[in-house]
């Protein structure tokens, strides 16, 4: 299975769920490989998904990464109330459900594959960096941009797959 074949369902699910649920059109920028040690934006909210091939030993991770400011905007849009009136717990709950819906939609494209895809796990904090979760040195970064309330916002999908098996 290729790296691209693993990534595409997640990219497609992100685009369609943002459009359908949030009425936000995502603009996908050029994917690129990045050394794990290179500087990246200081993400504050990550939704981590484990991918495991049941037929061999391959595994990897996909994470959907956001800054708190973007997370707040998305949550506000989903809940339909100003962010100051929403508890942090509800923001996490809402974004967790968003990640869950994206992964659930992506999963249907893996029905006939041996890949097992986990339920997403939400991680919050300051300057989150996922250090080499699949024992590889480079991750594929797929940046997205979107306009919300007239402001340009962004997030990315980072894909780290074991290169021995995912070509």
């Amino acid at each position: 299975m290729t790296r691209e074949e693993v990534c595409l369902p997640f990219i497609s699910a992100c685009s369609s769920i943002f459009d359908q649920l949030l009425d936000i059109k995502l603009s996908q920028k050029n994917p690129h490989l990045q050394d794990i040690s290179e500087d990246r934006p200081d993400w504050e909210l990550c939704s981590l998904i484990e991918i495991r091939n049941l037929e061999d030993l391959s595994y990897g991770y996909i994470s959907l990464n956001l800054k708190n400011s973007s997370a707040d905007k998305i949550a506000r849009k989903m809940i339909g109330r100003p962010i100051g009136t929403i508890s942090q717990e509800l923001v996490f709950d809402t974004l967790g459900e968003l990640a869950n819906i994206i992964v659930g939609n992506a999963k249907k494209d893996f029905e006939d594959s041996p890949l097992k895809i986990s339920t997403p796990m939400l991680i919050s904090g300051q300057k989150i960096r996922l250090h080499n979760p699949a024992k590889i040195h480079r991750v594929t970064i797929i940046p997205f941009e979107f306009i919300e309330a007239g402001e340009l916002d962004f997030f990315d999908l980072s894909i780290s797959l074991d290169l021995k098996y995912f070509v």
Partner: protein
């Protein structure tokens, strides 16, 4: 009087389903809506009170929605209960598995699509929560 149970571990999703119900709630007709945030809580409520319809998420802590469905369908007490799965799992094999276990309908999240709204309304018509001629 119609009794509805919403079971989902996401507070946001429970609110969304409740809003959908409120859209269809008929003036002058009483209904109660109860919420559970996991399968264990749902089973406790379903075994304690009588419900006409239950909206069940699949992926939940403690007891998942499929297991709740299996247990309900094994019990003669819940023969008349309409069970609708509302879940992010949209694969054919997931739908088939839920149907095999006796789910009445299966709605894929997000629930704001035209298709999901129509299925939602259909389920509410079936239990008499909404009248057939409702414009919404």
């Amino acid at each position: 009087m119609k009794n509805v149970l919403i079971c989902d571990d996401s507070q946001w999703m429970r609110g969304l389903i409740r809003n959908e119900l409120n859209k269809y709630a008929q003036e002058g007709k009483n209904h109660t809506v109860m919420e559970a945030c996991n399968g264990k809580e749902a089973l406790e409520l379903l075994n304690r009170d009588r419900f006409d319809i239950a909206f069940l998420d699949w992926t939940m802590p403690l007891i998942d929605g499929l297991e709740v469905l299996k247990r309900l369908r094994l019990s003669s007490k819940h023969l008349d209960l309409k069970i609708v799965m509302i879940t992010a799992l949209s694969g054919k094999s997931d739908v088939m598995q839920a149907l095999k276990e006796g789910v009445d309908d299966y709605i894929t999240k997000p629930i704001n699509s035209r298709q999901a709204s129509a299925r939602f309304k259909e389920a509410l018509i079936d239990v008499g929560f909404v009248s057939q001629g409702s414009v919404l």
